[in-house]
Amino acid sequence: MDKIISKTHISLLLSMLKTRMVEEKIVELYPEQEMRCPTHLYIGQEAVSAGVCQNLKKRDYVFSSYRSHGAYIAKGGSIKGLFAELYGKKTGCSKGKGGSMHIISKEVNFMGTSALVGGVIPIAAGTALASSMKREKRVSVVFFGDGACEEGVFQETLNFAALKKLPVVFICENNFYATNSHQLTRQAVDNIYKRSEIYNIPGFKVDGNNVLDVFKLSKRAVENARNGKGPSLIECRTYRWLEHVGPYFDYDLGYRSKAELDKWIKRCPLTTYEGVLLEKGVIRRSALDKMKEKLRREIEDAVSFAKKSPFPSVKDTHKDVYEKKR
């Protein structure tokens, strides 16, 4: 299948599958009320983080929003650390201080997430500035929503990144909604990918449910950043299946229709890609089943690790407010 080698295909599939299965587990367990933190699920958008992160090296930096399980997993974050964080445990990736909205994996340079819309956009330009000052060939990538493009900080950061020709890739995940509001009730024009043009930053639009399209387009952007050609903006058009925050469907709320959801479920990024790979013989059904079974066990392990882990102690409340001289 084109020039993409099958190892890449398998890796893309694995990343999407892992994200999906982890989140399906969260959907199953969340009603137990033991994961006591607001949790914004990513189901339906997996092709974006998988496609983009496939082009990154471990040393590259990634930032995301509160809806970040996908980017965290695609960058290689540990799912034990993720589940333990959701359960508020000491073994969590943020030691129980962050919850779902604040996950991090320093080992793989997944640099953190913000619960403020647009909050991480300039911070990613900051890591890019540091890389360029230190002459390291590291790329910074930031994931954010369509809503985040309404914050002034988005435009301010684009200008700064262009001015300094920073090695940063801006990935807008346009799922058409911010909480319960459609993009066109908040934005005068449907043209996010064009909003960098005025700074001479190339902007692209891509089907965010097609993992190969995302992969190929972001490959160019990442290479450009790595080779000193400056930033890019990519608008990935996709869809969030579940409610803004929490594990349930929400078409009953009335802000979007079941028909619209069904249309997007039919375009599921994961099953579509599975179908393509099976058809082209890149993977066999039995191998796919094995892959899923292995993931299922890994996820069960992570959940039981999380449930068994201790809570932080009272003393931990006061720990880490400041960095102490080491």
Binding site: Q33, R36, C37, P38, T39, G88, K89, G92, S94, G96, K97, G98, G99, M101, H102, S114, A115, L116, V117, G118, G119, G147, A148, E150, E151, G152, V153, A178, T179, N180, S181, T185, R186, Q187, V245, G246, L253, G254, Y255, F311, P312, S313, V314, D316, T317, H318, V321
Partner: protein
């Protein structure tokens, strides 16, 4: 306006906000309301329900996620005689608008010699617990109260939230109106009339002789619970609800302390440079000679908000802390303390917010 008439209707805090908004929009053509969630299916936890249907989408509308710019827009509209109400579902989100609030709204009147009032009201919501974490739970009312030119209101009951919201919107100055998510479902008597409660007037919630407990917002509820508990040990506490933290009703506090000689201040925020410190120092400056004991403050732990339920227990103060501190002040230092066992307000609240 007389309070406490048992024949009057019970409304929730949220319904009382909604009724105030309806009555304001009905009476004044120049009032409008805008914010994230004002006209979506959630309607800011229900508080803006029915507004766009009744008053049209020109007077009750959604905004882009552009807090700072839209706050500036509100200021501009107010310079032309409009009375905008802005809303934020969590206080944390309005920090993007610090610039417009602090540098512009708070200054426009003074800086130009009093020519332009800025009658805007910014409704914002604080919370407690359920893993909201560091960026979804902050209560920086004290920071706003630090700024000359702003007024800061923190209602704790359905009756107050209606009367104070009406006063805030009709006030000719920028008002930061801080609601508490945990109070939204609480019921209380609320008259149907259009009434206002003056800004800067505190309220005695419960009279008492032995100790004064000054509290704000949801901590008033903890103080009331604490006072009840203290009665069992023969301690008769007076509970004061600040209602407005800027301006501060110093007279009411001073008179109470003159009577009881002891003061605890319980705040929904942090200690350092906070409103609890402000109340304490005012008392120390003005009625020091009446004090029989040191003043004590009850506030958040001095850390950002942790997410884990295990840590929230120690982070948020509650009625147990108030009881403990009051007993220590009155009965001497050697009080044994039980370890707090339950997580924050586990009982009814099913997350997420």
């Amino acid at each position: 306006m007389k309070r406490k008439d048992s024949s009057i209707r019970q409304l929730t805090y949220c319904q009382a906000i909604n009724e105030a908004l309806v009555q304001l929009l009905e009476r004044h053509r120049n009032i409008f309301i805008m914010g994230l969630g004002v006209d979506d299916c959630g309607r800011i936890f229900g508080s803006t329900r029915g507004l766009s249907e009744r008053f049209g989408k020109k007077r009750a509308f959604e905004i882009p996620i552009s807090e700072n710019a839209v706050t500036g827009v509100a200021i501009g509209a107010s310079l032309c005689g409009m009375r905008p109400i802005m809303t934020h579902q969590r206080m944390d989100f309005m920090f993007y608008a610090f610039d417009q609030i602090i540098n512009h709204a708070a200054k426009w009147h003074y800086m130009f010699g009093g020519q332009f009032p800025v009658p805007i009201t910014i409704r914002t919501i604080i919370g407690r617990g359920w893993g909201q974490g560091a960026q979804h739970s902050q209560s920086l009312h004290s920071l706003f109260a630090h700024i000359p030119g702003l007024k800061v209101v923190m209602p704790s009951t359905p009756y107050d939230v209606k009367g104070l919201l009406i006063s805030s919107v009709l006030d000719d100055n920028p008002v930061i109106f801080i609601e508490h998510r945990r109070l939204y479902d609480e019921k209380g008597a609320v008259p149907e009339e259009f009434y206002s409660i003056p800004l800067g007037k505190a309220r005695i919630v419960k009279k008492g002789r032995d100790i004064t407990i000054v509290a704000n917002s949801q901590m008033v509820r903890e103080a009331e619970k604490g006072a009840k508990e203290l009665l069992k040990s023969g301690i008769d506490a007076e509970v004061i609800d600040l209602r407005t933290i800027r301006p501060l009703d110093e007279d009411l506090i001073f008179n109470s302390v003159k009577k009881t000689g002891r003061l605890i201040v319980a705040d929904t925020g942090w200690r350092n440079c906070g409103i609890a410190s402000e109340v304490s120092s005012s008392v120390a400056e003005s009625v020091f000679e009446y004090l029989k004991a040191p003043i004590l403050r009850i506030t958040f732990a001095d850390t950002p908000t942790p997410t884990s339920a295990a840590l929230e227990k120690t982070f948020y103060p509650d009625s147990e802390d108030i009881v403990y501190v009051a007993k220590r002040l009155i009965l001497g230092k050697k009080i044994k303390r039980k370890k707090k066992e339950r997580a924050i307000l586990d009982e009814q609240f099913k997350g997420p917010f």
